[in-house]
Subunit: 413 residues, 2 copies
């Protein structure tokens, strides 16, 4: 993985301070240690799931599903995996019904994932599915130690696994939360973690990533009042769910009150897929308000050698320039062309990440790169990167509404 | 469809001016007339596609695919449709390969849609598929009259249909561009258009929508320097692709130089799906910079009566408040709760649209509502709503790169 920045910053002191702060954070923030974990216990647990299980269904929302989905959808198109993964992450009744029709319930193992152990969506769905399939051996629960969910799992003699200490939901993809579903689907965890480890070492041991990440984070933080919308423009359909994961990580970590003031700050993440979004969002980047930075992601080798055939269509001869061009070359030329067009505008901060191919190590690297970048920017714009107090108000109101309903009537028909 | 605004504005004069401008635009902007069109020619064409055709594949990008996809994905989950629809909208080689494996090529009719008749992505894909299936009767072309594509289609004796006059790509879903694939899949065009017609009449004939849309557009335009990010928060998975359609419509129409100055303006669209994005983007709306408006969309009746069962989970008794609650009631209560939380913050402009169910008329209404709103806001912030000059620079650079390649070598292996 390479990352070329087309902007500069020379805040050596600020960069060193940010680096020191992140080094200190390792004491109490758990995700930094995930690339170095021993995965033997996870693989051992996974070996207990019988081969007759064809499908893994995750019941979880937000941090409990977005990470595994990002990796799975990145790997799946080009690899024959052992088991299919499905994600129940909505209380939309039609979505639940449609998903349940897609697989054989008798050959499915469910992973119920809730850090707090009391997520409304997760338990609404779990209760519904449990009423159809009430066999505790079909479920594994993943939660924080000591949560009510742990107690419940033990009571019904179902398997329970734990999140490591101090790992927040949106930073949990490389913990049990993401690794268990991914391992069960047949994805190579060791390769995935090796990619993350590579970035970690390069950052903490004075490698290439230290310089790059510090420069990028410092630039984003310094200019956050102007460039407060950060577009991730990935030229591959396989990165669609990685973009969704990025949106949660970035938005939920960096949108909040500053720690040392009551000031609202926020960096708004936008996930884009090329070339499709050249025909949608690009106009706004090119000519709209100059408040957006753009990071391109390119895949050097798609491992698919289909090529535009060498045929001439009468009256469309101008399109002969496409003839004999491999699609992977075309899509990357499209990316380069848009990047050049943005750079010509001068006022739009641009950088580009290139990964080699759609192997596990590369998505592991992307994940850890973005986690480190988020931590650095959070430190520099003075927010608590790891909490999300703003989502509590809606939860409290819902709780009151539900309690009110229960008082009024016994049923909700 | 109802739309309740939780903000006010009293610019009667500005509102009248905007209304007059939109009335005048009907002279030269084609989309306004689409709800009243005669669909007999489209239905007649569709009846010529044999019943042995099981799959319709659209080859098109941006405005040539997003609209039909939005309607199809809204209708599909709850309705048994006549034919499946697939969309080829990327030059990602893996995406093309994976899509082609999903259906039987011999039972597929392809719709090649390009307004200009020379879209690079569309013709790269078309050439590839045509080299596999070179039977002109398997293709119908949709383009502007007089385009090179029209001439090509005639030359190979394939069917060709036309876009109506002065209808831009992102405003074309209710023209042949969207209606042909949708009719072939079995969607009721008359119902779809009736929903759009209802909004049109209510707006132009002094109905409920005139007041609502003018107030909303005026508020958005007046406050666009502060509230320049407009979130559409839809509480149903079925509206996921409607959100993508909205992002193109809004971003590409409203992000550009002002007509009477060189000033960059832009309203940034964000599509969100509830409750999932409560666990992702909500924190940023609640506590981040106060630069976002939020429009909620609720569906009153999901036509799916699954209910959370009345079971108590030991140690999780607090979740009994969910028991016996229909999921459709829960998801709408979640929406109401988040809306209340945002309203309590005071500084976030909120409104809510409620549609009855996932019938064709309701998505038709949503489409026309958003098209009118876009036209009004574009008029008020002084941009040309209907062009997209900013995307040309990247296209020119690509063309040069392709021409350069051809000079250097005969093949690109």
């Amino acid at each position: 993985m390479t990352n070329t920045l087309y902007f500069t910053t020379d805040d050596q002191v600020v960069q060193q301070e940010a680096f020191d702060a992140i080094c200190a954070e390792q004491e109490h923030i758990g995700y930094y240690h995930l690339p170095d974990q021993d995965i033997a216990p996870i693989l051992e647990y996974c070996s207990t799931v019988p081969d007759t299980v064809e499908t893994i269904a995750v019941i979880g929302i937000g941090g409990s599903s977005l990470g595994a989905k990002a990796v799975y959808e990145f790997i799946k198109p080009l690899h024959t995996l052992k088991r299919d993964l499905y994600f129940f992450e909505s209380t939309d009744p039609v979505n639940i019904t449609v998903l349940l029709e897609k697989f054989n319930l008798d050959k499915t193992h469910f992973l119920v994932i809730s850090k707090s152990g009391s997520t409304v969506e997760t338990f609404a769905i779990y209760k519904y599915i449990y009423s159809i399939k009430s066999d505790p051996s079909a479920y594994t629960f993943i939660t924080d130690p000591g949560s009510p969910l742990e107690q419940y799992a033990k009571e019904i003699h179902a398997a329970v696994l734990y999140l490591p200490e101090n790992v927040g939901g949106r930073f949990s993809v490389l913990s049990t939360v993401g690794l268990v579903p991914l391992a069960l689907s047949g994805i190579d965890l060791e390769a995935l973690l090796s990619g993350a480890r590579h970035i970690k070492e390069s950052f903490f041991k004075d490698g290439y990533m230290k310089d790059t990440l510090l420069k990028k984070a410092t630039y984003y933080a310094r200019n956050h009042a102007q460039y407060h919308i950060n577009c991730l423009f990935a030229y591959s359909e396989s990165l669609k769910y990685f973009c969704e994961w990025y949106v949660q990580l970035w938005g939920e970590s960096l949108g909040k009150h500053q720690k040392h003031s009551a000031f609202h700050v926020g960096l708004t993440p936008i996930g884009l897929i090329g070339p499709k979004d050249q025909h949608s969002f690009l106009q706004l980047i090119m000519e709209g308000t100059r408040d957006k930075s753009v990071t391109f992601i390119k895949i050097a080798d798609f491992n698919d050698n289909i090529t535009i055939p060498d045929i001439t269509l009468p009256h469309l001869e101008s399109l002969d320039v496409l003839n004999s061009l491999p699609f992977e070359k075309l899509i990357n030329m499209q990316c380069d062309s848009v990047m050049e067009a943005l750079l010509n505008e001068k006022e739009i901060p641009v950088d580009v990440i290139v990964i080699q191919d759609t192997a596990e190590a590369n998505i592991g690297a992307l994940i850890f790169y973005y986690e480190l970048l988020t931590s650095l920017v959070g430190e520099l714009i003075d927010v608590n990167t790891y909490d999300q107090p703003g989502v509590e108000a809606g939860k409290r109101i819902l709780k009151d509404k539900l309690a009110g309903l229960n008082k009024k009537t016994d049923s909700f028909s």
